[in-house]
Assembly symmetry: D2
């Protein structure tokens, strides 16, 4: 920093803001509105971060009317979408901007700790979008997915028992149950996830059930089984079929 | 089990072996050779598990000559393939058979604990296959992947710095660094994984670097940086390009 | 098992029940009531498991009137105690009995997967007992703990800011914030825990705040900050002081 | 930052350096030597961080001659101590200083991500000290600990089988096996840890076995069983007895 003596104060500030120090000048406190102080003051644009860390992910609206689900209240669904899902998207944007602003000589643990946060927020965003995307239906399964499930699990009921039991193993805690299209095997299979970081390494989510307690506690308290029943009554199997057919045609 | 008094001993054994108790009768000790005692005794076949839990995954051979890598010894690579990768495949088969043999009234934690083991073994299998698959090359990047990386990270060097720093954050421990094709964003991005359970929820691995210490300790001791240098010298960028083009065309 | 032909059916059953197969005969379905079928049938006692895996942990009652907390409803506290805490104790007993019944030649992953479940249930039991134990007070800190906190954090307010911010980092997910007495340093320090498995390796919990969503969602929805405010109003600092003084005198 | 116009450049720099922005000015690149640019420039001392985040942990030397263990090479042990253990201590100091320098309005995820790194480094430090502390002996168990183990596990051999099987479940990956003095139960019990973050929430480590691959890969490759054999031949049971007696007297 010895070269600072050759810069004006304004130039010094800009150097820092646009260089490796930008992260600390970001304002993380205003509900996801992230802008550098420098940009706020001068109106000038700071040099863009590379796309990888520009953090411009957008929240997707609920694909159904939150007031119309069976056994899951509008208040629960709206809070889930506005706080947990949307919060993850906003946080992801902040995290990526902070990673993009790390000094070149950052300690490895600084990078690792933020990349973990990025993975958490990224998967939370993705899984929530699949989750909301496979709700809003009438819960009646038919078509491609039923065939695929029967092929792998013998009967639809055997698959459902398997999926529900994984869900119950996460009751009282956190996690996801994910029916994935496994791209190595070219088959469908249920997977367990203890938190947002967990996922099949090479697959396409077909049916995603959120088991974080924010998915049900407001309506069901500790009664996870009641929530799972309600979840099944609202599955949009048409959407699951669309996903399955798209995944299958990719191989 | 009070009804046992109405069965012959042989019938009782068969009921248990072919029914919900089969799991404990599996012989997990003989290098992945899993067969129920009942089948061994009688020669009769036990009813097949459903495909989902039949556990018939196969080990894939190394796609290159283990003696020909630069800076990574044949002994290291062979041990990695035979013990760590192949062991995961064998274990996955055992785990899936055990899940398939759980009693219908298994406690949820029994299911959850085995599904976690299944996820670990599944992802270890998948990531190792991508890892070995992207070794054996000359380390010279060109083509599609270079364009994709420049678009996201500004320069190839900026991407490489990012990828290596994630790797160093895992030095002395475990994990993977994965350049993924993110299917939500339709872009390439580096991801951090602390262990086998971690992964982007919706993506295609393009370039995978194993950071478990079994990937380098035999040759490099604690010198993870030396290992990463060697890894980069052996990257098969043609394979990475094939993966990237296949992933891109899927969207 | 070829020797079965030399046994009567009753003897065969007893061999299995009292031997390595006992685990599968446990009844995990009746609310924690675990008894082998053999014992139920004959009235005879099965050989005791060693103490390490006998699973005889007892639920401790709430140390305060669940109806008397400020800002935390009786319904929330009772559900938390009856379902989440008591459920962990019951599950721990089942898990330990299952571990104690593993065959001698169990696959390592079988042992590991159950030991993880044991750690989860053990720490859930322990932390919940500390958590309920440090509630029911008037929220006014004084005495030894205040001195200890000032020594480490400068001011009580600085410590509280630190503790609350860790809590907020767990909002919308799971985990604990634990003010520990660190036995290596002989000092007090705040620790972050993402789930039940996480803990300082050598310490005594002094003040424990549950951040699993079952701690607040019923009353506060996604408003974790509101819950943390309520938590602070109910801290039993006398109990925290007792713990701190006991921990300090041990060194 | 609008008040910057009223400060000289030097004052502005000092404000930032000694205030909430200090973290980014720390030099993390010189082997644990952490000093702010401000202090380097002016020779003046920056205001001290509170003790909680001053990061002054010291490396403890090996308590035995690294050349004298049976079946564990001097090179392996020295590397383990110098790189993995000492690296954790140095990193812990950096992490704590960075936490202590977080702005007051840091985003919760920034705090959480660093507190996780702190837990990893803290437990790595602690467990490594217990690990090295219980090596250097003749491997012959006697005294208090044998009595305690027999009480819980029936026989010493049963305990050893249990401890080794947990170790094998971590082979090829990471983790610890820890014989703990459980302070809730006032008993000894084996615990599984998948990585540094895992630990019994209220206990005193008595015998600690490192299962990270850096503990054995240099000497044993994938042969974790061979390493465990060597570990047992070098256990310092006198030290384990000292720990057990100290732990027991605390209750």
């Amino acid at each position: 920093m010895h070269h600072l003596t050759r810069l004006t104060r304004r130039e010094a500030m800009r150097t820092m803001i646009t260089g490796s120090l930008a992260a600390t000048l970001l304002d993380f406190t205003q509900g996801g509105q992230v802008m550098s102080e420098g940009a706020q003051q001068s109106g000038s644009t700071t040099p863009q971060l590379p796309l990888a860390y520009r953090g411009e992910h957008q929240v997707k609206p609920l694909p159904f009317d939150a007031a119309k689900l069976k056994g899951l209240s509008e208040k629960l669904i709206s809070s889930h979408h506005q706080n947990n899902y949307s919060g993850a998207v906003r946080r992801l944007n902040q995290i990526q901007q902070q990673i993009g602003s790390l000094p070149k000589d950052a300690a490895p643990y600084q990078m690792g700790s933020l990349k973990r946060e990025e993975l958490i927020a990224t998967n939370s965003m993705i899984q929530h979008e699949f989750y909301f995307g496979n709700l809003g239906g009438d819960g009646k399964a038919s078509g491609t997915i039923v065939d695929l499930l029967k092929t792998q699990y013998g009967t639809f009921e055997a698959w459902e028992h398997d999926f529900r039991l994984i869900g119950m193993s996460l009751a009282g805690g956190s996690g996801w149950v994910i029916l994935n299209y496994n791209l190595r095997e070219n088959t469908v299979h249920n997977y367990w996830a203890w938190d947002h970081t967990h996922s099949l390494a090479w697959g396409v989510p077909l049916l995603v059930m959120d088991m974080y307690e924010h998915s049900y506690h407001m309506d069901y308290g500790a009664n996870a089984r009641g929530y799972i029943d309600a979840f099944f009554q609202n599955i949009n199997w048409d959407e699951v079929n669309r996903r399955a057919e798209a995944a299958r045609s990719r191989k």
